[in-house]
Amino acid sequence: MKVTYFPGCTLKNKAKQLDIYGHKCAKALGVELEEIEKWQCCGGAFTTSSDEIATKLSSVRALKEAESKNQPLVSLCSACHNVLKQTNHAIQTNETFRARVNNYMADGEYNGGAKVMHYLELLRDVIGYDAVKEKVVNALNGKKVACYYGCLLLRPSKVMQMDDPENPQIMENLVRALGGEPILFPYKNECCGAYVSFENKDYTAVKSGKICNNATLNGADIILTACPLCKYNLEKCGSDIPVVYFTELLAEAFGIKE
């Protein structure tokens, strides 16, 4: 099967492992990620203000392309996924926003027909964890994994609808399918400090430090994430627990990690 794929700026640069292993693991599972030819940066954050139109058009164009191919729009980066899903939701539910967006769309309107999916949702809902399990050649042998969601995968939960926002299990169940052991991790949906690290690293080090300590305290060998910014903040906070993209762990279990 083929899906439309939106990589985003960071996956072509600082988070190449997320992108490369995402492609390789999808291929192993019989899915081709068809990258949008002329994708544009999502902007990193969805501005909640209803009068911001132009900053959301790059997402609308990506959504429109997926709709025209009748494929789900899949992304790996938590931020891209969040922006795409929130933009799609705004198009579907806010008539004024939709009309104002379509004033810019010279080559045809977009009215919210695309389905936005995170790669994790693709694994759980389309491919299925049983099929994932069948591809495992190098089981994780009880590796203790702290599944870290942060904010962007889960909230606002009314829109994201990925999982229970207070006790998600989508990554835990993936880790189980790979033979690992997800640990109890109360800080899994706490914020790492996000983009504030750009100007104030002391502030984000406190936020990320609490998360890493909580993972360590509960016996984790690694922290698993889908977000390049979370990874950066968690790695910069002074803790030495390894932070790994979920596609890297998947590739390791599939025996295709280089």
């Binding site: 900053t55 909230r155 706490e190 750009f198 100007e199």
Partner: protein, 130 residues
């Protein structure tokens, strides 16, 4: 001046889509806020101060740059008030003024290091700069 601030209140309410009078002052938003310690005004105060028109202190406060947009307050508010949207609308009220960008392009280089993801840069600019 008073008239301008009254306009600001209406703009903030319109832009955010938030109805601050729905708030029942339970404080859950501030209780769950990861940025609480860094904020001069906390999420519940943003809602209350916009409701009562006490806008000027918010416009002048660094609190608008301390919100992490994590949406914990939005998800956990029992009344669906969505305080983070109010904080964003107040921030836009400031940075949409001419010359009021919080981040300037000239200052980017000094904040970069070898590992910083592009995501951090574009998101900070989307949040802090118009």
């Amino acid at each position: 001046m008073e008239k301008n601030l009254n306009n600001a209140r209406e703009e903030i309410i319109r832009r955010s889509g938030v109805n601050p009078s729905k708030c029942m002052k339970c404080g859950k938003c501030s209780g769950t806020c990861p940025a609480y310690d860094e904020m001069e005004y906390h999420p519940h105060q943003f809602v209350y101060m916009v409701e009562t028109g006490d806008i000027e202190p918010l416009l002048k406060s660094q609190s608008i740059y301390r919100c992490l947009s994590c949406f914990a307050c939005v998800d956990r508010c029992p009344r669906g008030v969505e305080p983070a949207k109010i904080v964003e609308a107040v921030r836009l009220e400031v940075i949409r003024q001419q010359g009021a960008n919080h981040l300037k392009a000239e200052g980017v280089a000094e904040n970069l290091d070898e590992e910083i993801p592009q995501q951090a840069i574009v998101t900070a600019f989307r949040k802090y700069t118009k």
